[in-house]
């Protein structure tokens, strides 16, 4: 038997002939469309794929994308970035977080700037590294600023489980795990975006299962296709959406069936359930307060909850974006990055004014990097 190689996970899904064939099929099928398609790709990973592979160039003009809120860094309000900075400034502390979170500007500073001042701030490759760092620094308060949608939440839960098992007592968690369905509902409730189809997240759905989108077609009469992140995946998903439209259907379908099931990873779901519960409300950057749209640690783990333990140093006032930044409008699907006055001028990946320019999954960053040729 041939061993599966890493390239097998992507090479076929980037095959030029397959992409061309799908583009041809979509172009043919869209001729029958009654109204233009406004597809929201909920997840920033899909925004990235669409821009990086130039997929929009292969599609007819009656298909447009609305870039959704599924970028964990982009939706983080400034006051919570200020939390991270305040936590990093605690004497004898080590602040841990993931990826681009390091670069997002808060109200006055960013973690990268604070790190340059000498505070111990580290971007992890794997959340599990938090355990090792806590064990190696028993005299330090190690604080994990946990971010991400349903995809990364199980990793945080796994760190919690291992921490309890190993008896680690110097590790704290600032939980910013957010949920896809409430955010989508909030955007649709707003009613302004005129979205008539969804591309459902890939990795989120591996964990949650596609069941979390089942209510969408019923509520909004929109097709939902859960799609993989490769270009062939996205093209095939678009074709599935167009076909649904032409057949007057609004169903939830799974294109990413090599990884996503209806029920998802139930073991991971149970582990999350054990340590976390829905938070009463969470303020999303640009979208505002959404009830039950994020998670927090359960009462039993309050001793590890950085938001509780260090409550007295954490700012509580909401902080709005710079008045020229339209990240909020973009996250709601009401504008495109190049509609913004400061896009590419005052706001660039090196000097981001808004969070959508920071993360590689942010719509502004993807537009800036790959452009529209």
């Amino acid at each position: 038997m041939n061993r599966l190689q890493l390239k097998d996970l992507y090479s076929g899904f980037r095959d030029p002939d397959t992409i061309k064939a799908l583009a041809w099929a979509i172009n043919d099928e869209t001729k029958k469309l009654k109204e233009p398609l406004k597809i929201m790709e909920v997840c920033g990973g899909h925004t990235h794929t669409i821009m990086k592979y130039g997929l929009k160039q292969l599609l007819p003009s009656n298909i447009d994308f609305i870039h959704g809120p599924g970028c964990p860094v982009c939706i983080m309000p400034k006051e919570r970035i200020d939390h991270a900075i305040a936590l990093a400034q605690i004497p004898d502390s080590i602040l841990l977080t993931l990826g681009d979170m390091i670069r997002v500007p808060g109200s006055k500073s960013s973690l990268a700037l604070e790190r340059a001042k000498g505070y111990d701030i580290r971007a992890l490759y794997s959340p599990l590294d938090a355990l090792k760092i806590a064990e190696e620094n028993p005299d330090k308060k190690v604080i994990f600023f946990a971010i991400g949608f349903e995809t990364t939440t199980p990793m945080t839960a796994a760190v919690l489980e291992q921490m309890v098992k190993r008896g680690i007592t110097n590790l704290y968690f600032h939980i910013n795990h957010v949920l896809v369905p409430p955010a989508v509902d909030a955007i649709m409730a707003d009613g302004q975006a005129k979205i008539n189809a969804f591309i459902g997240p890939a990795h989120v759905s591996v964990i949650t299962g596609a069941k979390i989108y089942k209510s969408l077609p019923e509520k909004y009469a929109t097709p939902v296709v859960v799609s993989g992140f490769e270009p062939v995946d996205v093209m095939q998903s678009i074709l599935m959406i167009v076909k649904q439209k032409n057949e007057h259907r609004a169903d939830m379908e799974i294109q990413y069936s090599r990884s996503v099931t209806l029920d998802g990873n139930t073991k991971a779901q149970k582990m999350i359930e054990k340590f976390m519960k829905p938070r009463e409300h969470f303020r999303w950057r640009g979208i505002g307060d959404i009830p039950l749209s994020a998670l927090e640690l359960r009462e039993e783990y309050a001793a590890y909850d950085a938001e509780k333990i260090f409550a007295d140093i954490l700012p509580t006032e909401p902080i709005d974006d710079h008045k020229l930044c339209i990240c909020g409008t973009i996250l709601k699907g009401l504008a495109k990055p190049n509609d913004c006055k400061v896009f590419g001028t005052a706001c660039t990946p090196n000097t981001p004014m808004g969070s959508c320019m920071v993360s590689s999954e942010g719509a502004c960053n993807a537009y800036y990097r790959y452009g529209e040729i």
């Binding site: 996970l9 971007a123 991400g148 990097r369 040729i373």
Partner: protein, 332 residues
């Protein structure tokens, strides 16, 4: 274990013995062992002069070490200006307690790497600093080379020029990443770290007109192409699929959300030549070991001034931008 102590940098007996037993032993040449306050050099033609400091972590990596980098890095900078590397300085900043054996390995590697270009180390300096003042060892090398081919410049690309890459891209960055982050992934990604003068000499000997030449170090292929497009006010159109990337390097990129085009190289360069010299250049490069996989990746046009455009095999295109900030792995 024998260790480097502060006294080794104190200027007295210990310093002397370090210089004689280690540096002279491996680097020894007439100019160096004359042991004057400065090296006296004879150079007849126009010279190129460059300097670079090396601070890699880890200092030993798959495919090389900091010493190999310190030599090839400076030698390559000279080569990229069409200059034959002749004389180098080498200054060491060593953290107290550093292993003598490791220092010897590094120095030995430097001596071996010098053989590929024939350059000599003609002056040097050693400082030993207290624990924590530097991370193990830093090396600075400066170099002088005699210009053998004039007119190579990042400002010199013209419409119609062909862009060639000397080998696959991203291996040094990927190799360092694998070791540095302790990712727990096993794989055999070797840094491409190598001296490039023999390849440049082959191009010069073949009388090839070189519009521009640059090694794709930090910032990788993306940085070089963007610098050229900007400085020469042209558009570089690249066929994405023709840029060679090692499968394992691509694998690392897939796992962490990086682009091989943004990864550093230490033995790979990009060259722009007029179209009628393209095949000649490829032949000259393919005859040299380190550039045997040289291949054409694109051409210079005027489509969009100052921009690099990548074309896919399925009819779409996008900009290739300069890499921004530190490389951070994607979140999910």
């Amino acid at each position: 274990m024998k260790q480097i102590q502060l006294s080794h940098g104190g200027g007295g007996e210990e310093t002397n013995s370090l210089i004689h037993d280690l540096f002279y032993r491996y680097f020894g040449n007439d100019i160096l062992i004359a042991a004057e306050d400065a090296a006296v050099l004879e150079v007849k033609n126009k010279i190129a002069f460059t300097t670079d400091s090396f601070t890699v972590s880890p200092i030993f990596f798959n495919g090389g070490n900091i010493g190999k980098l310190a030599i090839s890095g400076t030698v390559n900078d000279l080569a990229m200006m069409g200059a034959k590397p002749l004389y180098l300085s080498s200054a060491f900043m060593i953290e107290e307690g550093f292993s003598f054996d490791e220092l010897e390995t590094i120095v030995k590697t430097m001596a071996e790497e010098l053989k590929h270009s024939g350059a000599k180390i003609v002056c040097g300096d050693t400082k030993v600093v207290p624990k924590g003042a530097v991370d193990q060892i830093f090396i600075n090398t400066s170099g002088i080379g005699e210009i053998e081919k004039e007119g190579i410049s990042a400002n010199n690309l013209h419409e119609g020029d062909v862009i060639i890459v000397s080998g696959d891209v991203g291996r040094h960055g990927a190799a360092i990443l694998m070791e540095r982050e302790g990712l727990g992934i096993t794989g055999d990604i070797q840094s491409d770290c190598a001296t490039l003068w023999p390849a440049v000499q082959a191009l010069i000997d073949s009388n090839i007109t070189i519009s521009a030449l640059r090694d794709a170090t930090r910032g990788g292929l993306s940085a070089v192409l963007n610098e050229w497009a900007g400085q020469s006010k042209v558009c570089l159109e690249i066929e994405e699929a023709s840029v060679p990337v090692d499968e394992a390097v691509q694998g690392i990129c897939e796992l962490f959300g990086f682009e091989a085009f943004d990864f550093a190289n230490e033995g790979t360069f990009i060259i722009a030549v007029p179209q009628h010299h393209a095949m000649l250049a490829i032949q000259a490069l393919q005859d040299i070991d380190v550039t045997s996989n040289a291949t054409i990746i694109g051409r210079v046009t005027m489509k969009k001034e100052g921009k690099v455009i990548l074309h896919s095999l399925y009819g779409s295109s996008r900009y290739l931008d300069l890499p921004k900030g530190e490389l951070l792995p994607r979140i999910c």
